[in-house]
């Protein structure tokens, strides 16, 4: 099951040129772009690992594509995303976030039903990937 998270996730994977153009848009808006990776695809997992320092003062997005490719060399079998942080007053949050790399095989999510208080049921989802310990989740 293909992970649908962030921008452009219903489109085909972005090419390096398209990543560069998107990142350039963020940079031109004054947002700091950075690269993050993880092997826990749960949508509520907000703690992705930073690949490099956020790029506050790189005027050209080629630097970001360079880092994305460096990250792919190391973590090619995991999810990698590009985020753009807007530090301006009132925003101070992520303005863009899109996945630029995903594992070859995405096992998807399992629906977990928990029976509580008599007949009530609580639902939650769990990725099949996280049943393996960290580092062994995607071959």
């Amino acid at each position: 099951m293909r992970l649908r998270q962030g921008q452009f996730s219903f489109l085909p994977d972005l090419t390096d040129d398209q990543i560069r153009e998107q990142a350039q848009y963020a940079i031109d808006n004054g947002w700091a772009v950075s690269v993050e990776y993880t092997d826990d695809p749960h949508p509520r997992n907000s703690y992705w690992d930073m690949w490099c320092r956020p790029m506050f003062d790189n005027p050209d997005a080629a630097a970001l594509v360079f880092e994305v490719n460096e990250c792919r060399k190391e973590h090619g079998g995991k999810y990698i995303r590009v985020i753009a942080f807007d530090s301006s007053h009132g925003w101070e949050s992520i303005r863009m976030s899109f996945i630029v790399n995903r594992p070859a095989d995405e096992p998807g999510f399992r629906l977990v039903r928990q029976e509580v208080d008599g007949r009530s049921i609580r639902y939650t989802i769990e990725s099949y990937a996280v049943r393996e310990p960290e580092g062994r989740r995607y071959a």
Partner: protein, 313 residues
């Protein structure tokens, strides 16, 4: 990524044009203005200007060839600027970044000036991220490495400079579309640097040598510098400045235009002091903007024969 290729193939390239008007491209790209500006604002440097014009011609033709599908490779644009201090290497590098931007060879056209300290770290594992950080900052523009020969220290085999050189070479080769590297430094030391790092020599396409300015050119440069700050030399001061340049040249630490700029800064200081001490009544506009012979004659270059370039003002 498998889907990437399909996305690209949907993008049909338009058929290549059959002819191109080089003169029109030359006009439209705005390169002409920059070349004109270089000719106007930079004194002397005949051979350098000639080389720049040749390069621009080459790059224009190359771009036309690529538009027509005759060439596909990005040409190697890395350069080395050799010459004595104060001969305008940094200034030309700025203009070069502008030219390359207008010709479409770099996307942003900014210039990042660094020296050894910005590239080489102080402990193990410090150099690679530091160098990469600088390279990333320079992407889309021009990286100007001043006194590049300091990167290589043969006397210390554990010097981290070697690591910076390796990363630099790798990026210079693999990211040729993204940045242009200009190495600058004194002629003889750069020659030694290149002979001990053959990787650099083969990756650098254009070697430009900056000649020293002669006395007359330096005086003309000083006039431009003063004009920009709304100062002027009187006739006597001009004569003195010519003598000053000739004397200063023979002394150590002579740095061409930079020495002259420092000398002028000190002359301005003395002029201000003179106006202040001998202030009799109101000072006119002309007084405030004229540098007289006495402001220059007070220099130690005339009296002690000592260089005052690095001394206190």
């Amino acid at each position: 990524m498998s889907t990437a290729t399909t996305a690209e193939s949907e993008h049909e390239p338009s058929p290549p044009p059959q002819e191109v008007d080089l003169a029109a491209v030359f006009e439209d790209s705005g390169v002409k203005d920059v070349l004109h500006e270089i000719d106007e604002t930079m004194i002397g440097l005949g051979p350098v200007k000639q080389r720049i014009r040749e390069m621009v011609a080459l790059l224009l033709v190359d771009r036309a060839r690529r538009d027509m599908g005759l060439a596909t490779e990005t040409p190697t644009l890395h350069m080395s600027f050799t010459g004595n201090p104060g001969t305008g290497k940094t200034t030309v590098a700025l203009k070069m970044a502008d030219l390359l931007h207008r010709l479409g060879y770099v996307r942003k056209g900014h210039l990042v000036t660094v020296t050894r300290d910005d590239l080489v770290g102080q402990y193990i594992g410090h150099t690679a991220p530091k160098t990469k950080e600088v390279l990333k900052k320079a992407m889309g523009g021009v990286l100007f490495i001043d006194e590049a020969y300091y990167l290589y220290r043969p006397e210390n085999e554990r010097d981290y400079g070697q690591e910076a050189i390796e990363i630099l070479l790798q990026v210079m080769e693999n990211n040729r579309d993204d940045l242009v590297v200009i190495l600058a430094g004194y002629g003889d030391r750069m020659d030694r640097f290149f002979s001990s790092n053959p990787g650099f020599r083969s990756r650098i396409a254009h070697h430009i040598d900056f000649p020293d300015y002669d006395d007359d050119e330096l005086v003309r440069i000083s006039q431009i510098m003063l004009d920009q700050q709304n100062y002027a030399l009187d006739d006597e001061a001009r004569e003195v400045l010519l003598r000053y340049v000739a004397l200063r040249r023979q002394q150590p630490h002579f740095a061409n235009a930079r020495s002259i700029r420092n000398a002028l800064d000190r002359a301005r200081l003395r002029q201000a002091n003179r106006l202040f001490l001998r202030n009799q009544g109101p000072v006119s506009r002309e007084d405030l903007s004229t540098i007289r012979a006495e402001d220059l004659l007070a220099s130690r270059v005339f009296t002690m024969g000592m260089p005052d370039a690095d001394a206190a003002p």
